[in-house]
Symmetry: C2
């Protein structure tokens, strides 16, 4: 069984070797030729960013202005979410020993999950999300505490990490409307959390670079899990029930939306988490951990975002679809 | 010296006994007569909420709508920030033994700070903020992890706690533009963070009620520290220099703003932190930790806010100035 699962996992990984797989990513050289998100196709980067901005925009949508204006989320179609750009299992080839260990650990965890859950992809998803929502909050807290004790600016890492954690938590609450976890699953989640939070916190403290790379690989696995879930629904093995209320509000879905639509949106979010964490790991690699991260879509839309120190998630979130100045600056003009 | 400091501290505490000091706060009874923020005057509650919404609104202000609309922060005058409503040293009388221990510990810490910093209120403020920004992120992470492992909704606690942490971090960055910490201060901050984060995390896990009460008392002390700073600037002991750029952008201050204006705004933020944490402690007391917290100003403006599950800080932040429906509901209509 393990052998079969191993072969299945290997066959699935359609590795898209980045243009510069053998060279460490450097921001100073080749800036004009290389994108930060070099391991995904430009069109994919653009689409992943648009999909993610959809629920972001929703948060600002609730802000009622004095003149009654409400913001609207960017439109993204089912066809977009089914397209190769989102369906593609982009893989970031490991560069260091730490990367390879991380990849092996994630592969091992993935096999265990498949062993336990088998074809119950819905239960697999619920349990996965209780774990997936941890790295974002640990990462955000790490950057926050670092900013405090070093008495220096964070440069826009905290908000997107908190956003990721909140997005994953929403995934959990969305799936809770579709799936009732078993007693064993609930017990496992409670027991595992302490271990998982401690382990990831230690890893983040010792090597933020490897921590984010690990999350990138976890999200690659999550992406595969959602494609499994999608296929199970399409084959009829899992009924394509109406979408829950939380999902419909969170993703601005029409009233007749179905489970399938929700899975598509959630999977697109996982693409963002995958690629953003791989990017953060790259930044640590290039000793650029005090630079503003590059938002997905920024380098391909032609409208660089302006991350601001002190801007809450509300702003960071809007920046993907904002037309702003070309330079990344802090609120006082300095970086 | 300690005796003198003790008397000074005792004299400062103008205790405003809440109307129902001897009765445990109960949400079910007397709902029509009692406000959640019963230990502050209604006018004070209103003003504190408006002052806090000022920097909040600023975050949404950066979101550019398709038609170019920008939101504007509520206006708040210097006179407002100097008024008794904000200047008053509101005190929440301890109700339990845990409260009394918390109060004693905070008093002890306050005395130590005064012993070390004496009249250097600017250095006192910078160091204080490196500690003040911790409870918010620990509290938010606690609620987030609880939501995950119990697989249940959070009901709007996470966002305001993250907001508090970010607000305190901004205080730090603002003061860093005015004050250069000494080597000893920097070393102390780094060493103390590990201890402080661990201690508060354990306290939050064992007794969230006492943790939030402690923060309430810490903020009462922070409020006093800023009044000291203000008086030192007014007496000329500390020069009333022009405000730094971060402060001016964060609080929407005019170009000729001074240090004094910044201190007034920061102190008003501390009022919010003080009262919101006391309120959260009350909720745990009344076994209402799965209810939406009441935002300051909500019960006195007559426009109850609508906190939404899954809404990022951008929404939670706007809710104070939003005119919304009377009922607190989650996004799917349920609480
Ligand atoms: Fe997820
Ligand atoms: Fe994920
Ligand atoms: Fe503060
Ligand atoms: Fe504070």
């Amino acid at each position: 069984v393990l052998g079969a699962l191993g072969r299945m996992t290997a066959a699935r990984q359609t590795a898209m070797a980045p243009t510069l797989a053998s060279r460490p990513f450097s921001s100073s050289s080749d800036a004009a030729r290389d994108r930060r998100y070099h391991w995904v196709e430009p069109e994919a980067e653009r689409l992943i960013a648009r999909a993610y901005a959809r629920h972001r925009q929703l948060a600002q949508r609730d802000a009622v202005s004095p003149n009654g204006w409400k913001s609207f989320p960017p439109s993204i179609s089912i066809a977009d979410l089914e397209s190769p750009a989102i369906e593609q299992e982009y893989h970031y080839p490991p560069k260091t020993r730490g990367d390879r260990i991380a990849k092996k650990l994630v592969d091992y965890g993935e096999k265990l999950m498949h062993l336990f859950f088998r074809e119950k992809y819905d239960h697999h998803a619920v349990t996965l999300e209780t774990v997936a929502a941890v790295p974002g909050v640990v990462g955000a807290a790490h950057r926050h505490l670092r900013s405090l004790r070093c008495m220096k600016r964070d440069h826009g890492w905290i908000n997107p990490l908190q956003e990721e954690a909140e997005n994953e938590r929403m995934h959990l609450l969305i799936w809770m409307q579709h799936t009732k976890p078993t007693g064993i699953e609930r017990a496992f989640v409670i027991m595992a959390q302490g271990i998982y939070v401690a382990a990831y916190s230690v890893l983040m403290y010792l090597s933020p670079r490897t921590a984010h790379r690990t999350v990138g690989y976890l999200e690659e696995a999550a992406h595969r899990a959602y494609t499994d879930y999608l296929r199970a629904v399409d084959s009829g093995a899992i009924p394509n029930v109406p979408a829950g209320e939380i999902a419909k509000k969170y993703y601005s879905l029409p009233d007749d939306a179905k489970l399938r639509d929700v899975i598509l949106h959630v999977r697109a979010d996982e693409c963002m988490h995958r690629d953003f964490n791989h990017h953060l790991s790259d930044l640590y690699d290039a000793k650029e951990e005090d630079e503003f991260p590059t938002k997905m879509g920024e380098e391909v839309e032609g409208k660089p975002s302006e991350a601001k120190e002190g801007a809450s998630s509300g702003v960071g979130r809007a920046s993907v679809v904002m037309a702003a100045s070309g330079k990344k600056t802090g609120p006082d003009g300095a970086q």
